[in-house]
Symmetry: C2
Subunit: 139 residues, 2 copies
Amino acid sequence: MEVRRRHTHQRQLVLDAVLARSDHPTAEDIFTDVRTKDAKISRGTVYRNLNLLEESGLISSVHVPGGNRFDWRTDDHSHVVCTSCGAIADAPLPSDNQLDSLASSHTGYKISSHSTVFYGLCPACQRDAVRNQDAHKHA
Amino acid sequence: MEVRRRHTHQRQLVLDAVLARSDHPTAEDIFTDVRTKDAKISRGTVYRNLNLLEESGLISSVHVPGGNRFDWRTDDHSHVVCTSCGAIADAPLPSDNQLDSLASSHTGYKISSHSTVFYGLCPACQRDAVRNQDAHKHA
DNA sequence: GTGTTTGCAAACTTTTTGCAAACAC
DNA sequence: GTGTTTGCAAAAAGTTTGCAAACAC
């Protein structure tokens, strides 16, 4: 019944790669990073290990439009996603920490986690938006 | 500059199909529903119209693992997703409605919306889990 | 008539999977 | 030795897109 999990070179590389980044990388990002250390590792192995590491609670992930993003942080916090460039940043936790039990009693679901994602424009894309506006005015 | 949007048979069918369901259907669900009314409508048209209707603010969507789910409700509320069967239910809004400005001031993003998703087991899957447990015990 | 929308099929993106060989314990 | 993990390549799942014909206004 117990799942015995082996310690492999590849697994360690994937974990290290996630821990080394604070920009909420995609699976593909991690694949690219890990490839620089082990030219033979396969995409399938990276995906499998990302999922296993998440199940083990060593890393976490955020579901956003465009795919799954990984996070070395496993504590409870929220995220902001740029709807223009896809950048993700950490955001403070919504103050109310009885959210889960509230949602549970309201729906009958047995809640085990939650995720709050804010959508908006990152600072860089805000600047780009202004620049494009100006370009139009001056055209 | 203004986008002129035409009223087509297909667009109306897609909108009607979303409004007719309260179970947060996938694009494929809507495609299937609409197909019963118009055997010729194409998948591409359904996807295009779901996106256009969402942009217009007539419907909304929730990003969850496994894809995008549509919602006839456009008011601010949260969702619970079953991690076993994918069922989605509505949940009450987190009480704090200054969340956006809090996240904004913390990250520098210009926030336009947010989405809170709870993960857990729906009532039916909770029952199934108990049943499987029992089966093991008696084996 | 003009410009938008459709149907179709192909392409794309992200992720999963079957299998035999390689590896960890 | 036993059972897990890997690499590979194929396939799956979800969604987007190019184009000519059809349609809305």
